[in-house]
Every structure is written in C-alpha cells, then in structure tokens.
Symmetry: C2
Subunit: 258 residues, 2 copies
C-alpha cells in the first residue's frame, strides 16, 4: 500500500551508502593485495586476507537482508531501480547480478592473468606470483558452476511464469471488466499486485541467496589471495559500471537522481 | 556517445504519445466491438473490424521502427525505461512484453468467457455470441505457441550470454587495470559499451520482430471478432498497468517523471 514516508528515497539512500561502502572496502582490499605482493606469503597474510573476505561476505549478507526488508514494502523498485544508471539497470537479472557471471569473470581473470604473466615473462623473464588453480580447485569450480547454472535457469523460468501467469493474466482479467478512460487502483487490483509482489520478493530472496551462496562457495574453493583478486575484480566492475553508467545518463540528457 | 539534445526526453515523449494513442485506439476498438454485439454479424462488420486490426498492427509496427531508431542512439534507456512506472519496468522482457504472454492472455480470455457464458446461461438460459474456437484454430494457436516459446527461450539465453560474456567480462578486464577512486569513461570503455549496446539493439529488434510476428499470426488464425476481443484485452492490460503503476509510484514516494 505504501506508507507516507518515501520508500523510494530510502531505497536510493541505502544503495548510495552501499556503493560508497563498496568503494571503501575496495581500497582496503587493494591495499591488502599490494601488501601481500610485496611481502613473502605467510600464514599471517592469509589470516588477514581471510578476515577481510569474511567481512566482505558479512557486509554483503547484511545488505541483502536490509534491502529484502525494504523490498517487502516496495518490491518493483528493486527490479527496476531508479537509483541505478540505465546501463546498470539494463544489466540486472532478478534485482541483481547473475550468479553464473562470477564464473565468467573468474575464468576471464585467470585467462587474462595467463596473458599478462606471459607478456611479463617475455619482457623481463619474471612471472607474477598469482597462485595457479590446482586440478582439484578446477574440478570444484566447474561443479559449482554447473549447479549454479541449473539453479539460475530455474529462477529465470520461475520469473517468466510469474510475469505471465501471476501478473499478466489476473491483471488482464480485472482490466477487462473496467470501463475507461480512468482506471483506478481498486481493491481487487491492490490485492492482485500485492500477490505478484509477494512472489517477486520470494524470487529476489532466492536469487540473493544463490548469489551469496555461490560467492561463499567460490571463496571457500579459492586460496585467500585468489579469492582476494576475484573479489577486487568483481567490486571494481560494480563501482566502475556505476560511474560509467551515470556519466552516460548525463550525456543522454537524464537528469540527476538527486 | 549521445548528442547534446536530450534523448531521454525524446524517448519519454515518444512513449507518452504512444500510450495516449493506445487509449484512443482502445476507445475505437471497444466501440466497434459494441456495435458488432448489437447488430447481426455481417461481412460488413468483419470488413470494418479487419480494417481496424490492420490499422492497429500497422501502428504497432511504426512504433517499434521509431523506437528502434532512437534505441540505436540510447539503448539502455529502453531496457530499463524511466518513463514507465517501476511496476511496468519490472515486468519487461527485452524492452517489451513476452510474446508468449499473448497465449496465456488468450487462453485466460477463452476460459473466463466460458465461465461468464455459463453463468449467463444459468441465469437467463441465453448464451453470449462470442464465437467459439474451432478445432483447427486450437491446433494452429497451439503450434504457434510452441514455436513462439522456442524463439523466446532462444532470445532469453542470448540476452544472458550478452550480459555475461559481452558485458561483464570485457568491462571487468578494463576496470581491473584502472586506478580509482575516479573511474572515467575512457575510449576503451566507450568502445566496449558501444559494442554491448549494438548487441542489445539487435536483440531488441529480434524480440520486437517476434512480438509483432506472433501478434500478426494470432490475428490471422482468429476470426475478426475474436481478434478484436483479444486486442482489446491486451491493450486494456497495458493502459491499466501503466495507470496503476503510476499511482503506486506516487504512493511509494516516487516523484513524477515530468
């Protein structure tokens, strides 16, 4: 039904806080990676990195819990968030990133690392110290990817059914009975939209859960420094895409969201 | 790159015009349906209905051609349009409705019609004159639905690959090399985003084509008055969802888009 307070402003502020927290976290993680590169790898380094990874996982979990609470009051806003740039929004899958994209990103990093190691080696005969994936890690990542894709496809098709059967059909049947030109939001419509949004929130929670669990399992499979490289790349992608998207919105004549 | 004129305002105006045209068209179509119900079905009526259906199809075709031209300059705006309410946007599939949803809607209409015919019959012993689907029509609709679902799933998975391989991976590799805290939209990023948006426009054109062709084929299979009932329900759904979505946005504290 919506309260008199502005849930949209609340959602926007929450996202802004989260993104500036991401930037701080990124600085901290990059600092730790650089420190690790300049010192010999020790168990102390690993412990410090693990603590940072735990903190990052916990902050992600806190954020999704907080946004799920708000999404129960204002669901659609999270599926098509106005506080994101158009480019960011157009890349969403069920109110966030695709869990399977973690793997594409990870393999690309491995590949790009092989390339940069090779060129560094050809240049100065030295190679980077980024730890290679072991065969057992490769198998574990591959298994996790397969399971994640299955779950992601399940949610994709649940969302399709939701749009068609839970949303379009009942709303069309209500609309059919109404006489225009004004179409008011009557109790029938409110109840139907509440049902649709309840299903959307459930789906968003399942998608968030899949994102979080996939992320946690990847971190578990990887060595601390590999996980650190991965999480830095993932966060840098989000921070950059946000910044680039906002710049493009301004170029296309979109007014600022503040 | 974006021109100095505001493409977002152009997109918003185009959508507003389209929606008010939809309302006018809806009035005209409902008038024709009512006229058909009060007069005996004649070939004159069918000819008039067919002319209206052709006009509606043509206006849909003109609209998608016009928006595709604009989308080539400002693609993301159409995948997450700020000129739509949050509820409308959250129900989008590749910048529009799912072509397969035409069938759910159509079967729901047939079902609801059977219910209302039955209750009318029990009440006064008379039945509505809405023409029944013939067995050959049912087979043709079923075949079309199967083909449409296959095409829709193909586009859904193409969009998933686009988000992961064409967008996330190259952007993450560029982002990785940059030093924050400011991340400028450099030439490398611009070229990559241009590539992504080129692929998005192609996908949107294919999705529009599937929406249009499915609609045309359904109209071909149906008798004029069945097609008229269908198109009225589909348009009423869009017009109502827009109006309800805007009212909900206001309730949730979203400022007006104008």
């Amino acid at each position: 039904m919506g309260s008199s307070s502005s849930e949209r402003v609340e959602g926007q502020n929450m996202y802004k806080e989260w993104m500036s927290f991401q930037e701080q976290e990124l600085t901290e993680l990059i600092h730790s990676l650089n420190l690790n590169k300049t010192t010999a790898t020790t168990s102390d380094n690993d412990a410090e990195i693990n603590a940072l990874l735990d903190k990052a996982t916990q902050s992600f979990q806190d954020y999704i819990e907080r946004r799920n609470r708000l999404a129960r009051r204002d669901t659609s806003a999270f599926f098509s968030p106005r506080w994101c740039s158009s480019f960011e929004s157009s890349m969403l899958w069920i109110a966030g990133c695709r869990p399977s994209s973690f793997f594409n990103l990870f393999y690309a990093l491995c590949g790009s690392d092989i390339d940069s190691r090779l060129s560094q080696f050809l240049q100065d005969g030295k190679s980077d110290e980024f730890p290679q994936l072991s065969p057992s890690q490769l198998v574990a990542i591959d298994n996790l990817q397969r399971r994640t894709i299955v779950e992601e496809e399940k949610l994709t098709s649940q969302f399709a059914s939701l749009q068609q059967d839970k949303a379009d059909v009942p709303l069309a049947l209500i609309a059919r009975k109404l006489e225009g030109p004004q179409y008011e939001l009557n109790e029938d419509v409110r109840e139907t939209i509440a049902e649709i949004e309840k299903a959307m929130v459930c789906l968003m929670e399942e998608a968030d859960n899949l994102r979080l669990e996939t992320f946690k399992e990847m971190v578990k499979i990887l060595k601390p420094v590999q996980a650190l490289e991965f999480i830095i790349a993932a966060k840098k992608l989000r921070v950059c895409v946000r910044s680039w998207g906002e710049e493009r919105d301004r170029e296309h004549g979109q007014e600022d969201k503040e």
